[in-house]
């Protein structure tokens, strides 16, 4: 029986049988679906990647206003295309940790203040120039100069000096930071020849593919880079991205076989889409969270009891079920979840109208609370606001909802108005998440969280190289945000991708972003 099963698995892995058919036949042989899936996965690996063919991706989040300049990348298309032609020094490993790309290895001084990155030798850019540590230096300079428009500017701010020595690229920091490699996985920091200072949007890098046709917001075609240094990446000859922002059109393109994979399958229809025999819907948990944010320094939210009342008055499970349709997990009023490296589980806060009522009465505030929301703060935000309104009314708290226009929401409402709905994509480490949005001096401290003890802990944790101690520090900080902060975090959303069974090699991940942290087109292959 084992032999027969293995044969079937290999057939399925080679694409001569659909996954569903294989599962059915395996079940007939008395194998559970779970066992059969594992078998299939190992058989697929044994069959190995197949070279050649074209992989087409229908992608949401691109516009004809996009530029190829990685410094300006701000959506899924720009991030995906950047990873075709370019590479960062280090990348997030899908299973957690660091995946070495153009940095072969790195070392930190004992105080985590001086970092040395050894640059991979013998790698050439697609214009024929050889990669040197000077190119890395120039790239980092472009993203950190006073004049920089880079989205990575915030990350580069803590750097005191940088230099290139032979094949080494050395960074000296103002303050110790044990997380520097994680910060350098930022998707803007693609290494360009001469730092891309002459022509930032040239699309020339060391990546596995070379761009052949570029129509921003419409279509991108890239062909395999014959000189690429890493054989494990880039199996298809050609990769074609088609920007399809409309949800229904994107799903239809996958269903009709025009594309092999799509990102952001709408949660509402994901289960329906998964039913098709030629499509697998893949869910990846991530650090992104849908939130309600209150300014801790503005009335009535200046009173922590009002904030606690809001936190007890939200039904998290209902939000995950109805807003995310189950594709996500419940939040705990801290921006940190299990996708962070040094995560500690805190006691879960649950919906408790009595406690909400108690805190509200204790605060002495009896007016209504104004919540601003718009459709683009996160998908389904107005619905989530209505659910919040209902769950609060059970506690006798009156929530008023004000719909704001999508246009200008991020510049006029978010980070300006005292209470609104919002979205955070998350960061690779606790340190960068906390420094971006919870440090009292952060530009995007969108909850106006001002806690001296928290700030001190944040700086101390950066310099702490003992992992156990750091983990405890981050747990303490999460607890502070959870019990005193202005963040009401009901849910973490998962990335939902749709993948055709015509391609193989999907890797389940617990870190990074959609489409396998944008690497799915390069890690997967067309079945023969």
């Amino acid at each position: 029986m084992t032999k027969q099963l293995n044969y079937l698995a290999l057939q399925a892995a080679m694409g001569r049988m659909s996954r569903r058919e294989f599962l059915g036949r395996a079940a007939a042989l008395g194998v559970t679906a779970l066992g059969a899936n594992t078998l299939l996965a190992s058989a697929a690996k044994a069959a190995g990647p197949q070279k050649g063919g074209t992989i087409r991706i229908g992608i949401q989040g691109g516009s004809s206003a996009d530029s190829l300049d990685p410094a300006l990348a701000a959506n899924a298309t720009a991030s995906s295309i950047g990873r075709l032609w370019g590479e960062p020094l280090v990348e997030l490993d899908p299973m957690g940790g660091i995946w070495h790309r153009l940095a072969e290895s790195y070392d930190a001084s004992a105080d985590a203040r001086v970092w040395t990155f050894k640059i991979r030798q013998g790698v050439t850019f697609s214009n024929g120039k050889e990669l040197t540590a000077e190119d890395v230096l120039a790239t980092m300079e472009r993203h950190s100069g006073e004049e920089s428009k880079s989205g990575a500017l915030g990350i580069m701010r803590g750097i005191k000096s940088m230099r290139a020595e032979g094949s080494d690229f050395i960074i000296e920091l103002d303050e110790p930071n044990a997380d520097l490699p994680y910060l350098l996985t930022d998707y803007h920091l693609l290494i360009q020849p001469g730092g891309g200072k002459d022509d930032p949007a040239a699309g020339i890098g060391t990546g596995p593919y070379i761009l052949k046709s570029v129509e921003p917001g419409v279509r991108f075609v890239a062909e395999k880079n014959p000189n690429y240094w890493d054989d494990s990446l880039g199996h298809a000859d050609t990769i074609e991205f088609i920007v399809i922002n409309d949800d229904t059109a994107r799903v239809a393109a996958l269903q009709s076989g025009q594309v092999h994979m799509i990102n952001r399958v709408p949660p509402r229809t994901a289960r329906l889409v998964d039913r098709a025999p030629t499509i697998d819907v893949r869910e990846t948990a991530g650090p992104g969270h849908y939130v309600f944010i209150a300014h801790c320094d503005k009335d009535p939210f200046a009173n922590n009891d009002v904030r606690m009342a809001l936190k007890y008055g939200i039904n998290r499970q209902e939000m995950v079920d109805k807003i995310l349709n189950g594709y996500g997990s419940i939040g705990n009023d801290t921006p940190i979840n299990s996708s962070y490296p040094l995560f500690t589980e805190l006691e879960q806060r649950t919906y408790d109208p009595d406690k909400a009522k108690f805190h509200m009465q204790k605060s002495g505030y009896d007016g209504s609370i104004l919540l601003r929301t718009s459709d683009n703060s996160f998908p389904g935000a107005p619905d989530a606001a209505a659910l919040f309104q209902q769950s609060l009314s059970a506690a006798g708290i009156n929530l008023e909802i004000k719909r704001e226009p999508n246009d200008g929401y991020w510049s006029e409402v978010w980070n300006k108005q005292p209470f609104c709905t919002s979205y955070w994509g998350g960061r690779p480490t606790q340190d960068s998440m906390f420094s971006t949005a919870y440090l009292s001096t952060a530009d995007w401290n969108d909850t106006r969280f001002n806690n001296e003890q928290f700030d001190q802990l944040l700086y101390a944790a950066r310099a702490e190289l003992d992992e156990a101690k750091r983990t405890q520090m981050y747990a303490d900080m999460s607890t502070m945000v959870r019990d005193e902060g202005g963040l009401v975090c009901p849910m973490f959303n998962s990335f939902i991708d749709g993948v055709s069974t015509e391609v193989d090699g999907w890797v389940d991940a617990k870190a990074g972003f959609e489409l396998n942290n944008f690497y799915a087109p390069m890690k997967m292959w067309v079945k023969a």
Binding site: G58, S63, S64, A65, D66, S67, L72, A74, N75, E146, E147, S148, K149, S150, G151, L153, G154, R157, A201, S213, E215, P216, G217, V218, R219, I242, V243, I244, N245, D246, T248, A249, A252, A253, Q255, S256, G257, Q258, V259, P405, D407, G408, W410, S411, E412, W414, G425, D443
Partner: protein, 318 residues
């Protein structure tokens, strides 16, 4: 012939004046859009320093009047500026988008206009009998359903289920004409269904109006066949309202197909405009607005002139 030329010249001059006024409106309109270009370009994750740097870079600190005249001067010379967001030359970028839009509009018009007029004539010929009622029912149904819904239904049936046509109407230069036509089959069908009813109803109404005239009765008494009467006598005399409604629909096919472009992922002007509105890329929005206005005014001007030329009383004033 002189009075005619004068009339036509007047129309053209008026149209140009109108276009100039529209350009002021477009410019003023884009000035009062809420939000900030720099913020939209860099997204939620921008730092204040990066925002300030970008704002200065884009020249957002100059006074609006100066910017209007610079823009108008450039536009008159065919230079629409560069896009703030991507740094591309707008004239080049719009060129390919506009030709895509024109390609789609052309084929939609090539099918829908003759079809609508033919159906209109047919409806008059069989007035109040079943072909007339069937045509009216069908066209009124198709115009009453929102166009995106027709799009999705056709996409589901013809692309996902039957796989006859692609659901994504992507065209590019390396495709042959046949491939392109296959690619745009679905959007052309939807657009045809959307514009058919109005033109067909107007044709029918205009001809029926003329059919009450005494000379039609004369023609009937002469023993001409019904279809010949309609084609030779009624149609030429009702051409002016028909041309008007045809031109309005042609204008719609060029400037109003944003929804269809989004649904079928067609790389036309509408999608281009929407992308840049949401990014506050003002020069592109202004350029698109100007082109759309020019198309609208131009087609209406053609309709006016055709009406004048088709009317002997205007052609030979006493």
């Amino acid at each position: 012939m002189a009075p005619i030329l004068k009339l036509v010249a007047q129309r053209v001059a008026l149209s140009l004046l109108l276009l100039l006024m529209v350009s002021v409106l477009i410019f003023a309109g884009t000035m009062i859009l809420p939000g900030d270009v720099a913020q939209s370009i860099l997204g939620q994750s921008a730092t204040p320093e990066a925002l300030a740097n970008l704002r200065a870079d884009l020249g957002l600190n100059d006074p609006p009047v100066t910017r209007y005249f610079q823009w108008l001067w450039g536009a008159l010379h065919g230079d629409l500026g560069t896009a703030l967001t991507s740094g591309q030359d707008i004239t080049t970028a719009i060129g390919s988008r506009l030709s895509n839009t024109m390609f789609l509009a052309f084929w939609a018009a090539a099918i829908s206009v003759p079809l609508a007029i033919f159906l209109g004539l047919l409806a008059v010929r069989y007035q109040n009998r079943w072909p007339d009622k069937l045509i009216s029912a069908f066209t009124l149904t198709s115009i009453s359903i929102p166009e995106f819904l027709i799009g999705y239904v056709l996409m589901y049936l013809l692309a996902v289920k039957l796989r006859w046509f692609p659901s994504v109407a992507m065209i590019n230069d390396s495709m042959s004409l046949g491939q392109k036509l296959n690619s745009i089959a679905l959007p052309v069908t939807v657009l045809t269904l959307v514009v058919l009813a109005q033109m067909m109803r107007m044709t029918r109404a205009a001809i029926l109006n003329v059919m009450q005239s005494a000379y039609i009765e004369t023609a009937e008494l002469k023993g001409l066949t019904m279809f010949k009467i309609i084609w030779r006598h009624a149609f030429p005399n009702s051409i002016s309202p028909i041309v008007n409604v045809v031109m309005l629909n042609l204008a719609y096919l060029v400037v109003g197909v944003v929804v269809i472009e989004v649904v079928f992922v067609y790389p036309g002007m509408g999608q281009y405009l929407v992308d840049h509105v949401s990014k506050r890329d003002v020069p592109v929005v202004q350029a698109c607005g100007l082109i759309f206005a020019a198309v609208y005014i131009g087609l209406n001007m053609v309709a006016d002139i055709v009406s004048i030329l088709a009317n002997p009383r205007l052609r030979h004033p006493k």
